[in-house]
Symmetry: C2
Subunit: 187 residues, 2 copies
DNA sequence: CAATAAATTTACCGAACGGTATAAAAAGAT
DNA sequence: ATCTTTTTATACCGTTCGGTAAATTTATTG
């Protein structure tokens, strides 16, 4: 039975989003999940293992979709649209989890939170960078690293806004966001 | 002598940026600062008091500059330029401190980090919102709250990029950022 | 110089931390 | 039905946590 495992992952997500990974005690998680401490250590090895498993469970599937959205190199705006919709859909389907992602992405560099998320951040950045680097325009090509960072920043800003103010992360918003961003590049 | 006080604030900033407020122990701070534990409690009352003092010391002066930059309601792009330059100058002069700001701004809502920074975040948002709300264009006026959030998001994205990749937060970048953002509004 | 107030130290507190040795219960396989 | 493996629980480990009482040093003031 992986009943306990699922309960632990659910509870961990809830507590990590509310109070943060570092401030949440193992005891609090197991109590709320209705299991005992050694059960957690049996399934996840250590506290960090719980966080890593929580991230892998949701981020691995998303990574596949993200890379397939970015792979077909037809033209840049279309690819950026697919990427943006992938992010918006993901955040819309798992809002609580994406709240955690936003916390981890800005966590202090030496913290366990940042270390756990770092590999995924690097992969996201690589996907976007490759996309911009493949553009014909030399202004875009030569700035691919910067553009990757600022594009992800814009996306996360919109998602943050949606998570707090309940605006819709629909295709229209994705189109507008990409359109505005593309214009900014050439300005 | 406020020698100990200054040493504690400096050390706290360094450790909070590196490992985060929640993961940094009082013991570690006083050891590195070369003082003893009750000295810290004499000056700051409690651990959270240390964080609050650290924030107040740098953010109160900045708040004055930010509000004066936003006050003269000549026209929106000019005001946004002054605001952007205020942020860029601040981040350029205190890069380590602004790293802390970025961490706190995205910290879990129920954490001590987020609670400490929340009042400043609210004031920043209010300043920007008032600026957009004063615009004549109804599309800008009616979306002032959203625009305030997204504008701060763009600014922080640029600053994050500068802190990691050592690009220059100069007046040109401020002008470009505002210009691109303004175009996006009317698109 | 004496008296007072502020700053700092030594030594300690109870509680919560992450983690584990041992063993009982549950599930699957033969 | 029994044996084996996986899963869960009781009770506990040493360490570190934030915080403090009491006393000592340092600086200020009359």
């Amino acid at each position: 039975m992986n009943d306990a495992r699922t309960a632990l992952l659910d509870t961990a997500l809830e507590r990590f989003v509310e109070r943060g990974y570092e401030s949440t005690g193992i005891q609090e998680i197991v109590d709320r999940a209705g299991v005992s401490k050694p059960t957690l250590y049996h399934h996840f090895g250590c506290k960090e293992g719980l966080l890593l498993a929580l991230l892998a469970e949701s981020l691995e599937p998303f990574q596949s979709r993200l890379e397939s959205a970015a792979n077909h190199q037809d033209d840049l705006p279309l690819a950026l649209n697919r990427v943006t919709r992938a992010f918006f859909d993901f955040a819309g389907q798992s809002p609580q989890f994406y709240r955690l992602v936003i916390c981890l992405a800005s966590a202090p560099s030496g913290s366990a939170s940042a270390r756990a998320f770092a590999p995924y951040a690097a992969r996201w950045h690589a996907v976007l960078k490759r996309l911009f680097a493949a553009a014909s325009n030399p202004r875009v090509h030569s700035r691919s690293a910067q553009l990757a960072v600022t594009f992800l920043g814009v996306i996360n800003t919109w998602i943050s806004l949606a998570l707090n103010d309940a605006i819709a992360l629909d295709q229209d918003l994705a189109f507008q966001a990409v359109h505005q961003y593309m214009h900014g590049i050439y300005a």
